[in-house]
């Protein structure tokens, strides 16, 4: 375990933590002392992550959560606060529906999934966590967006606006919740995840294109490269950072 226990006593929820970036974030937050709720759509993925964290000496549990419904997110937050008495950090990472297509051929159900898991779920996670983040002396909302949410995407054209919307929500809530002492930020990662592996299978040239334009020459690790940045945004050292997007992609995107 890290000597750094900057999140000791904090309670965090990470959506989509059954794999990929969400898992990496959850593992890092737990390493720093937070109790982490693995809000995963399926117990088959969420329980093993929680088990692994506990095996490493951390504190975690899985609460099965479908972020496409308000009720499921509310149940997750209610159960967390009921059990632990607080919620300090809400990380919304879950996403579904991104498949390469022409805009005019994007299936309606794919757009529904993208819209629900990004913009709608960000709205619900924010609204439902708000009273608890406000009650905390270190309330933090972190939305996981994407470099494509800044640059647009020719491969998945509706993925980008769905992710871009999260940045606008974060900026707006940074203004709205500043008087409450809550910091709201985004992280835009590129990491080795099942989702990226799927994207690589759909667009075979994508890996080479990403690696070729990444100054650090590699695709990020969800825990070491992404989790640590979210831990910073969740922790005490980021109390004067709000409304920002930190792009964690090895220096690939330099447009901000």
């Amino acid at each position: 375990m890290d000597v750094n226990r900057s999140l000791e006593g904090r309670v965090a929820i990470v959506t989509g933590a059954g794999q990929g970036v969400g898992e990496g974030i959850a593992r890092k937050l737990a390493t720093l002392g937070a109790h982490v709720v693995i809000a995963a759509r399926r117990a088959e993925t969420g329980d093993p992550v929680a088990d692994a964290i506990r095996s490493d000496g951390g504190s975690a549990e899985c609460i099965v959560t479908d972020v496409t419904t308000r009720e499921s997110i509310a149940a997750c937050i209610d159960a967390t606060v009921s059990t632990h008495g607080r919620l300090d950090v809400m990380v919304h990472n879950a996403f579904a529906g991104g498949h390469a297509s022409r805009l005019e051929e994007t299936p309606a159900d794919a757009w529904f999934q993208m819209s629900r898991t990004s913009a709608w779920a960000s709205f619900w996670c924010a609204q439902l966590s708000y009273p608890h983040l406000k009650a905390s002396d270190q309330g933090r909302l972190v939305l996981v967006t994407s470099p494509s949410g800044v640059e647009g995407s020719a491969n998945i054209p509706l993925y980008s606006p769905a992710k871009g919307a999260q940045r606008a929500i974060a900026k707006s809530l940074a203004r709205e919740w500043g008087p409450d002492g809550i910091c709201v930020n985004c992280i835009a990662p590129v990491a080795e995840t099942p989702a990226l592996a799927s994207a690589f299978s759909q667009v075979p040239t994508l890996r080479g294109a990403i690696e070729a334009r990444t100054p650090l020459g590699r695709i990020g690790d969800p825990t070491a490269d992404i989790g640590g940045v979210v831990a910073f945004l969740a922790g005490p050292d980021s109390g004067y950072v709000s409304g920002q997007t930190i792009v964690c992609d090895g220096g690939s995107f330099l447009g901000l």
Partner: protein, 194 residues
């Protein structure tokens, strides 16, 4: 496209009316139906764009702001591409700078506006090879929000260009002169957002 461009302007609010008047005043024909050579998407309506703290925001309000705006944008752009019929054209998507700066009590409309902004970039990348120039025009929140004051200032600066008029810029973006631009955002707000 020459000097007289047939342009469809989508929207019923004052921004759409202002842009339509500007285009008509410059000799272009504005229309509500095909055929047309350029599309201007300007759905923003202050009577609908009311502030709401997120703690009180209803699903119906988020649906109206985010979902219906995005669905309308996709439908309008897709129709335009069909109408252009392989001959190229111009698509101009408008948005308030609230997309870029966020807005207190305006998370729902900021999400919609930034969604439209980033959609601009995706479509520009995907349809550019078909000769369709897709770009965006950002305007002052005062033109579209019901209460731009509560949204908060975009900048602490005073306007560098008082009474900036987006008419000439939307005309340019609809013209063949803008065919070398793709996915760009031109902001006409007096220089508050830089």
């Amino acid at each position: 496209m020459g000097n007289n461009v047939r342009i469809k302007v989508v929207g019923t609010g004052p921004l759409a009316a202002q842009l339509s008047a500007a285009l008509s005043g410059r000799g272009h024909e504005t229309t509500g139906s095909a055929p047309y050579e350029a599309l201007v998407f300007a759905p923003w309506d202050p009577t609908l764009m009311v502030p709401r703290p997120i703690a009180e925001l209803t699903d119906a309000e988020f649906e109206l702001a985010w979902q219906q705006t995005m669905d309308a944008a996709v439908a309008a752009c897709t129709e335009a591409r069909t109408t252009f019929n392989g001959n190229g054209g111009a698509i101009v998507l408008t948005l308030p700078t609230t997309a870029l700066a966020g807005g207190d009590h305006y998370a729902h409309w900021a999400a919609a506006a930034e969604g439209v902004h980033i959609l601009t970039k995706s479509i520009a990348r995907q349809w550019g090879p078909e000769g369709i120039a897709v770009n965006a025009l950002a305007v002052s929140p005062e033109l579209v929000l019901a209460d731009a004051v509560i949204a908060g200032p975009v900048s602490i600066a005073t306007p560098a260009v008082p009474d900036a008029d987006p008419g000439a810029v939307v005309e340019f973006l609809c013209s063949t002169d803008a065919r070398n631009l793709a996915g760009q955002l031109l902001t006409v707000d007096g220089g508050l957002w830089m």
